[in-house]
């Protein structure tokens, strides 16, 4: 195998696949990237068996072939090469010679035979979405995923294609974020998957390369074909992402979304975000809550920790309901405020043991459970 490639294109390609490596101890080849050269491009593939990524980079291929190399080290070396022109030359015994300017590296590779194949993009249920839109939807909910491994069902984002819309949901059992968009869903394509957290984070990283993406899924797997038409760093065709899904039943999230609105206030998102953020500066791991108090046209935010001190913030709002007070984990308040981009949001409250609900004029809802003091 022999090809010439632009250093920055090669580096960009390796950066796409770099995060997906398996445990070195169990299967050493999972720390490697599979490099295959054909026609006028090379394809780069990594997998950890749960998630696989493949991208294609344009290259001047002189002789087709394949080899696998340790991806982290290779990416570091390529990034540091002195000259933009890089030539890559692999011998049949998997030794690779990398030349750039006055630098030459000889790297020991492993043959392709041991590299686990990625599943084929099959005839599953499939939908085409806008990359920018999916990015913003994922960002609106992904912070609410659980990282508690004992609640593995919640370690991901739930995609629900049904009733003429796509809904994304994430929850850690104490808060839940939901966003929907209208989408034509043919009856036989309706379905849902729980996309694992790691896949969500890789997917989010890739969704700025082009216009559209195609998602296909069945009960066990999901795949994403991400077009790279906006990329100018050597990516060609699409990036392909193949992931296992979290198998199991996602909790019935509809039942925890309050049906009635009790007290609703309109807030300037940025201002409220800053107030809560400042108040939270005095909280500690042991006393991790901010109190939100509503009185006539006034919102007060207080926080304290016994060994440090206290903070008090106030905001003028339009409010004429009964006085009420409720405490929340500050991160639960801040996360949706940070993820949203709208200037104004609605916050609905009832009492100190009922959930608080953030809403925007789009179909976004974030339900957060309070902290019960005393």
């Amino acid at each position: 195998m022999k090809f010439k490639i632009n250093r920055d294109h090669f580096s960009n390609g390796l950066a796409q696949v770099l995060n997906v490596v398996g445990s070195k101890a169990t299967m050493p080849i999972l720390s490697n990237v599979l490099i295959e050269a054909e026609k006028d491009y090379i394809s780069l593939t990594t997998t950890n068996l749960d998630l696989g990524i493949r991208c294609k980079i344009k290259a001047e291929v002189k002789e087709g072939g394949s080899v696998t190399l340790p991806v982290k080290r290779l990416a570091t070396i390529v990034r540091e090469l002195p000259n933009v022109d890089v030539s890559f030359d692999a011998t049949p015994n998997h030794q690779v010679k990398l030349t750039s300017g006055g630098s030459t590296f000889r790297i020991m590779g492993i043959g392709k035979e041991e590299f686990p194949p990625l599943p084929e993009f099959g005839d599953d249920k499939s939908f085409t979405l806008e990359q920018a839109e999916l990015t913003s939807m994922l960002k609106s909910v992904s912070y609410a995923q659980s990282s508690d491994e004992t609640r593995y069902i919640l370690n991901g984002v739930y995609f629900n294609f049904r009733d003429g819309k796509l809904s994304l949901v994430a929850t850690d059992g104490r808060r839940l974020a939901l966003i929907s968009k209208e989408l034509e869903v043919p009856a036989d394509s309706a379905g849902s998957i729980i996309l694992p957290a790691k896949t969500v984070s890789e997917l989010t990283r890739m969704l700025d390369k082009g216009e559209k993406l195609k998602i296909a899924f069945n009960d066990r797997r999901a795949s994403f074909q991400i077009s790279t038409d906006k990329d100018s760093s050597g990516l060609v065709d699409s990036i392909y992402l193949y992931s296992k899904v979290v198998e199991g039943n996602y909790p019935n999230y509809q039942q925890v979304i309050p049906k009635e609105t009790h007290q609703r206030i309109k807030l300037e998102r940025e201002l409220f975000l800053q107030c809560v953020h400042r108040a939270a500066l005095v909280t500690s791991e042991k006393s991790n809550s901010v109190k939100i108090k509503l009185t006539s046209n006034l919102l007060e935010i207080t926080a304290q920790s016994p060994d440090f001190g206290e903070a008090h913030e106030s905001m003028a709002i339009a409010y004429s309901g009964p006085d009420l007070q409720v405490a929340f984990n500050p991160a639960f308040v801040l996360d949706p405020l940070k993820a949203l981009t709208k200037d104004e949001i609605f916050f609905e409250l009832k009492d100190e043991v009922s959930p608080g609900v953030f809403k925007t004029l789009e179909s976004f809802i974030c339900v957060i459970m309070p902290v019960r003091l005393s």
Partner: protein, 387 residues
């Protein structure tokens, strides 16, 4: 100037459980008396007359009766907790700085009392010793020194009704002739090992040069030498330390082999302990089950919930697997115990999907209230079997 006075008092009730019982039955004073379970129990406390016959605590009752056949065995009757509280309340009339260490011993710091000489300190402590006897008929021993370590060793030196004052500066000289086993942390095994190396008294520790001391005591040899010199700067802590665990155990009248029966006992302990945890406004994360066989060998197993709880429900499913894990030998059990640890307090994050838990919490509060008023509302699993 006054900082040099011996302000720290260690109060140690003499044979506390027996003394409480004798206060109710003074005619038994001077006799060989012990408090403990009769059939399979252990001696919890023995009078000094009984101790002279070789009865010690904790000793299986059967053995105690063998070494001292005329031992008068009293059942647990007295209100130990109540008497203990009254005893420490009397201490607090003297100084606000009282550390209740356990039911029968604690420390007093007399610094806030404005006493100007060792003689004045002695006088007020003797007065306290007398008041405790007059009011409660509980004999106590007092150790007075400049720190907790020395005061504690002093109080135990001349029991019962001991009264030992160690003058400031005399700490090392006071400790030097004492058996090395009097030092905290030196148990019988360590004591025997040290004696084998020629270390019999506390003074022997200080006679070693640095290299010898390091060879004997390892890395912590400096700490050991400080102990031997009677150095200690721990303050008397007046705050009651919050409970770090809640536990209960039961010794059976006859060894039990039936899994279901043991399981029921363990669950009943859970039912007994959680109302206390709720009453204290706490939550627990970890449940540990311990089993003890007839020959006193024991095993235990524990497991933690992802989140602390104050409800019975999340802990019940742990009982069976933990018992299986701990009870590995196919032999009947003498004792089973249940311990809750990983105790948390304070604000509680509410859950989205746990409306049930909130309902259970309300129900538990109602049941706790009813049971507190003398009603008996039990969980179903306590009803089947012979209970």
């Amino acid at each position: 100037m006054s900082a040099g006075l011996p302000f720290i008092v260690h109060l140690d009730a003499d044979a506390f459980f027996v003394s409480v019982e004798l206060a109710l039955r003074p005619e038994l004073r001077g006799k060989k008396v012990a408090v403990g379970g009769r059939e399979r129990g252990i001696i919890a406390s023995a009078s000094y007359e009984a101790r002279a016959c070789g009865v010690y605590t904790p000793m299986p009752t059967v053995r105690a009766l063998a070494v001292c056949p005329d031992l008068i065995l009293l059942p647990h009757v007295g209100k130990y907790g109540e008497v203990s509280r009254q005893m420490f309340d009397l201490c607090e009339t003297l100084t606000p700085w009282v550390q209740r260490n356990s039911i029968d011993e604690g420390y007093l710091d007399l610094k806030p009392c404005g006493l100007k000489s060792t003689a004045e300190i002695e006088a007020v402590v003797r007065g306290l010793q007398a008041r405790i006897w007059d009011a409660l008929q509980i004999p106590v021993s007092m150790g007075i020194a400049t720190n907790k370590l020395v005061a504690q060793i002093a109080s135990k030196l001349r029991k019962p009704r001991g009264f030992v004052v160690v003058a400031p500066g005399d700490e090392a000289a006071f400790l030097a002739p004492l058996d090395i086993g009097k030092l905290p942390g030196v148990g019988t095994k360590t004591e025997a090992a040290l004696q084998a190396r020629g270390l019999r008294t506390v003074g022997d520790v200080l006679a070693l040069n640095d290299r010898e001391a390091e060879a004997v005591f390892g890395r912590d040899w400096r700490g050991m030498q400080a102990l031997a010199r009677g150095e200690d700067d721990r303050p008397v802590e007046t705050e009651h330390e919050d409970a770090k665990s809640y536990s209960q155990q039961e010794t059976f009248a006859t060894d039990i082999a039936a899994f279901a029966e043991i399981e029921r006992v363990a669950k009943r302990m859970i039912d007994d302990l959680l109302p206390k945890i709720r009453e204290d406004g706490k939550r627990a994360r970890t449940l540990t089950v311990k089993v003890r066989y007839g020959d006193f060998t024991q095993e235990s197993a524990g497991r933690s919930l992802p989140e602390a709880s104050d409800l019975e429900m999340p802990f019940y499913p742990l009982v069976t697997p933990l018992l299986r894990q701990a009870w590995t030998q196919r032999r009947p059990l003498r004792l089973v115990s249940v311990k809750f640890s990983g105790i948390e307090a304070g604000p509680r994050q509410l859950d989205l999907f746990s409306e049930d838990a909130e309902k259970r919490r309300k129900l538990a509060a109602v049941l706790d209230k009813l049971n507190g008023r003398g009603a008996v509302v039990k969980h179903g699993h306590q009803l089947d079997g012979k209970g």
